[in-house]
């Protein structure tokens, strides 16, 4: 089974992230790493391969500038076989439509039975790329899974949707996204880190994928950001140390604010 795991190199969510003047993510001001939510997709791919599918072949795919390779190396250090890095200056400024187009063409070129994604990136947080990939690849989208099983040519699992817990099933080939509840991701071992250096990473550009640059980047984007503004930090209010009347003081505050 051919598994493609889509991963993204994102600014560290624990750092103070910012926008640049052209309203894109400022990648220079903070360190970037493999999106935490993508690690769960990597983990699920490895578990599928380990659970007895000896023919499973795991390929990681990312779209981004040169340093996005770091995300691929991290994933390869966790396990897996190979990686594809799509990099092209014209991709800069792509929205989810441009990104999903590039990913879909690269996935088609590589071939796939299963595409695994995280539920969302930790930078853009839209969570729409998996659905767009399924739409472009014309395969089922089995998304937002907290638990999944791949057997007999189908993927099934549990999804915590809007107000309900839903069990779903779709035939392979399919696009699957997993949440942070799907199972803790492993840490790369020293052996894994050393092995990752020898695993093949293929680099492709838009021409290799037959994509017209006008379809991606700023020119292909279907929405525009008008302005970005840092929200003023919240001003700290009154902090009292409980001397036996802390609950009463809290009640007085809530009464003054008309919550009681």
């Amino acid at each position: 089974m051919k598994i493609v795991v889509c991963v993204k190199h994102v600014p560290d969510a624990a750092a103070d992230r910012a926008f640049t003047e052209d309203c894109t993510t400022d990648r220079a001001s903070v360190d970037s790493l493999l999106s935490e939510l993508d690690e769960y997709a990597v983990e699920q791919a490895l578990r599928i391969a380990e659970s007895g599918d000896a023919d499973a072949e795991i390929c990681y795919l990312t779209v981004g500038p040169d340093d996005a390779r770091d995300a691929l190396r991290k994933a390869l250090a966790m396990g897996g076989d190979s990686a594809i890095h799509v990099s092209d200056d014209d991709i800069e400024g792509s929205d989810a439509f441009g990104t999903s187009l590039v990913l879909a063409r690269a996935i088609e070129r590589h071939g796939f039975d299963l595409v695994l994604c995280g539920m969302a990136s930790t930078d853009g947080t839209m969570g729409v790329v998996p659905a767009m990939l399924a739409e472009r690849l014309r395969v089922p989208a089995v998304t937002h899974l907290e638990e999944l099983t791949v057997e007999d040519g189908a993927v099934s699992g549990r999804r915590e949707g809007d107000g309900a817990s839903v069990r779903v099933q779709g035939a392979l080939p399919a696009v699957v996204s997993v949440t942070d509840r799907s199972g803790d991701a492993r840490y790369p071992s020293f052996k894994g880190i050393m092995a990752a250096k020898k695993k093949p990473v293929e680099t492709l550009d838009l021409a290799d994928l037959g994509i017209d640059p006008a379809q991606v980047g700023f020119s292909g984007a279907r929405s525009a950001v008008g302005a970005t503004a840092r929200r003023p930090p919240r001003t700290q209010g009154e902090i009292v140390v409980d001397d036996g009347a802390g609950g009463a003081a809290l009640a007085a505050f809530l009464t003054a604010k008309k919550f009681i």
């Binding site: 969510a13 624990a14 992230r17 926008f19 939510l37 439509f97 539920m119 947080t125 839209m126 969570g127 998996p130 659905a131 767009m132 739409e135 089922p140 989208a141 998304t143 099934s156 999804r159 915590e160 949707g161 809007d162 107000g163 309900a164 817990s165 839903v166 069990r167 779903v168 099933q169 779709g170 035939a171 949440t179 279907r222 929405s223 525009a224 950001v225 008008g226 302005a227 970005t228 503004a229 840092r230 929200r231 919240r234 700290q236 009154e238 902090i239 009292v240 140390v241 409980d242 802390g246 609950g247 009463a248 003081a249 809290l250 009640a251 809530l254 009464t255 604010k257 919550f259 009681i260």
Partner: protein, 318 residues
């Protein structure tokens, strides 16, 4: 007046509050038309009309319940092609966002997700969103095709604008994609008497500091008529269900009042609650980062502070 399509979130015709918020926002852009998928048109149409839906397009086909997301995509796309709306608004849950993404692709249109406000602009709707764990505010607009916009709960207060809606049954052709992912079973989450987390005006959350005893949190929630939330640490410890997790990867809430008890305030938690209007924190640790956000904070033992708060609330109300 241009027509604005609103995808209705409902259970058997019981319309959820975020849909009323969408109708309220839609009226700023044009004349709202509700798209109702599944059974319950009679009771739903009454509610939808009360909040300004001039039309209710009804697609009551079995595919809607039997398969995941894609029947809604076929329905909404085909209704949009027939009606030529000026915008399409959907709720920002997982289903709404996926539906929106696929509809936008099929209509060759632009998409904005997780709007916290929508206003009319010279070139169509202008949205406001939060970014980077709510440290940034972003405005945006769609530059191609009919704007498809998903809106987070609590983006607007629902305002009634009664009309008698025209209810129209719509036939939809479901393509092969629509039957790709079968729903094997669906278990609605028990909500009890408390309001739903995403919709509540007040949320009371517990974290590591509650030590497994959420009763103290529930007492405060019930005294205030609030929903119960939990930090990831509390959920991971198995003290409260994941559906109540507030944070970047849980539910993001923006209530009038957020009470954080025994929660230190890690960045992932703050990302899910720091747009709350008023924030109150109770924590033993005076250095907990949650106090940086708090409008009122109590450094103390939540098992002493919260019961006293509940007693005070009952006393003040009696």
């Amino acid at each position: 007046m241009p027509e604005i399509l609103v995808l209705v979130e409902h259970t058997g015709g019981a319309v959820r509050k975020p849909t009323l918020e969408l109708l309220t926002l839609a009226r700023r852009l044009g004349e709202p038309s509700a798209v109702l998928l599944g059974p319950g048109a009679d009771s739903a149409s009454e509610t939808l009309g009360r909040y300004g839906a001039h039309k209710v397009y009804v697609v009551d086909a079995p595919e809607v319940g039997e398969f995941l997301v894609t029947p809604a995509v076929d329905a909404l796309t085909q209704i949009a092609e027939r009606t030529g709306p000026a915008a399409i608004l959907l709720p920002s849950g997982p289903d709404g966002k996926e539906t929106a993404a696929r509809v936008a692709l099929r209509l060759d249109a632009g998409l904005i997700t997780d709007a916290v406000d929508v206003t009319a602009g010279p070139d169509g709707p202008v949205t406001e969103q939060s970014a980077f764990a709510a440290t940034y505010q972003v405005t945006a607009h769609v530059t191609r095709g009919v704007p498809v916009i998903t809106v987070k709960p609590n983006a607007a207060a629902p305002e009634p604008a009664p009309v008698t809606p025209v209810v129209e049954k719509q036939d939809v052709t479901f393509g092969p994609d629509s039957t790709a992912v079968r729903v094997l079973s669906r278990t609605r989450r028990e909500r009890g008497d408390r309001p739903e987390l995403t919709e509540a005006d007040i949320v009371v959350s517990g974290g590591r500091g509650v030590n497994g005893d959420f009763a103290v949190i529930e007492h405060v929630a019930d005294a205030l008529g609030a929903a119960v939330g939990a930090s990831r640490a509390a959920v991971d410890a198995g003290w409260y269900p994941h559906s109540h997790q507030v944070g970047q990867t849980g539910t993001q809430v923006s209530p009038q009042l957020y009470v954080a008890a025994g929660i230190s305030g890690a960045i992932q938690h703050r990302a899910g609650m720091q747009t709350s209007k008023t924030i109150v924190a109770v924590n033993k640790d005076a250095d907990a980062p949650i106090f940086e956000l708090a409008d009122h904070g109590v450094v103390g033992d939540l098992f002493e502070v919260l019961p006293q708060l509940v007693a005070e609330i009952e006393h003040r109300r009696s």
